[in-house]
Point group: C2
Chain length 297, copies 2
Amino acid sequence: MFTGLSAFPLTPLRDDRVDEQAFTGLVERLATTEVDSITALGSTGSYAYLTPVERARVAQLAVEHAGSTPVFVGVGGLRTSHVLAHVDAAAEAGAAGVLLAPMTYQALTADDVFELFRTVTEHTALPVIVYDNPGTTHFTFSTDLYARIGALPGIASVKIPGVPRDPEEARAHVSAIRAVLPAHVTIGVSGDAFGAAGLNAGCDAWYTAVGGTIPDPMLTITRAAQHGRPAEAVAESERLAPLWHLFTEFGGSLRVTAALAEHLGLVPERSLPLPIQGLSAEQRARVVAVIEELALA
Amino acid sequence: MFTGLSAFPLTPLRDDRVDEQAFTGLVERLATTEVDSITALGSTGSYAYLTPVERARVAQLAVEHAGSTPVFVGVGGLRTSHVLAHVDAAAEAGAAGVLLAPMTYQALTADDVFELFRTVTEHTALPVIVYDNPGTTHFTFSTDLYARIGALPGIASVKIPGVPRDPEEARAHVSAIRAVLPAHVTIGVSGDAFGAAGLNAGCDAWYTAVGGTIPDPMLTITRAAQHGRPAEAVAESERLAPLWHLFTEFGGSLRVTAALAEHLGLVPERSLPLPIQGLSAEQRARVVAVIEELALA
């Protein structure tokens, strides 16, 4: 289940409240494609900004509207007891797994993070995806920590940040992680610009942010990589280079993905949680130009 | 009011609940010293880990037990609407001011942070302390942003991170910030090892983490610097060097301060919010040795 394309929908806000209609629309849209799973309340789903009540509701809506597509739910939080409450809410909603990033305010040690995962895996029967996202958590996993956490019963997958550009290096990087994980633990790449490279390097899954809004090109990449056509995956990813460039230029995928979804009418204007204002008018015009250039609409 | 020594008490937990008795004990202890203000729910007060209900209660207890000492309350949060709710709770508790750090999960732009402060200062009549703490927020203020935010009505003070070691450089650094701020906006240094250097370099205040647990040496430093005896301030700070070294070695002041308070019996064992486990037994023994060496008990 923790393989292939996992699509991360936005959790759009309207006037500081979750726009449930827009959210379920995104989920239904994904469920009608062939994505392998939907991850609600990922970083792209703004989990860190939502109240426990909002998160429980979003998890519930995601499962209700995903049809037969498995739904994973982000359960990260700054305090262990809050994480456990999010896990319980995800379980009650019918999630097929949970995604856990070690959020930080005070920096965490490797032992702190290990104990967090140990506590969560002891608490729940749900499979757990280890969410390594140093750009937002400012916590860096070592390969040794992957090994310690990967050995916990209940760990299903590790979501790693981007892989090296060079295919040889990428393969060596993924192999080094694979070597320390039990065979049943899958490895998923994230950082959308690295999807093709990660899958071609041997990752089992692609946890894709923008794929939650425009799944089709990401499915093209995923299926090509899965079915032994690495060059085709790379070609499609290279075609999308103008989009990846915007991610780099505008400080990550979130603001660009939100602008994209807003332009496509999938979510309301200014759908991100304040204080995140989203892109400027000028930046949005650049996004629209790329949407047209790449025929993403 | 935003001058001199502002002491930051811990918010101790016991079995994952705020230990109200221990917290009020810390506040009362500070109120009986001559600290100029108490800042509840700073980073040292674990504001980022507590629920809105816990934070409102802690703010209330701080004001109730601080006697005539003004109480500032940390109101940071990841979402603007949550920050406003914390501000309202602080006002209701009777806080004399609020301390606002731009917490991040997704990185914020300067405009995002400016709008956050604009929204808060428009929302409340309480004076606002700008909390620049890149170690926890991963947001870096520019001098230009200090200027833009400092010009907002309602901004009372800017809490800056440590200053350069060299006294000349420190003075130039503080002067450069002073130059862009209105005259009524004070500058307070933080990073406990930099208290003496910051005050001697012209800072009006010292926002001190460890001073919330052991105020006396920090008051010695503050009064010496305030009363034209900079060498005395430096000497006392240098005497405390073994403590500052532990902060560096053990990843910041929080875990060391908590271990110190735990050893002194001021707060229960394991008083930090999980997943922060606090120091190991070996590290605690080092803290105890420094307590004895410096006669901090």
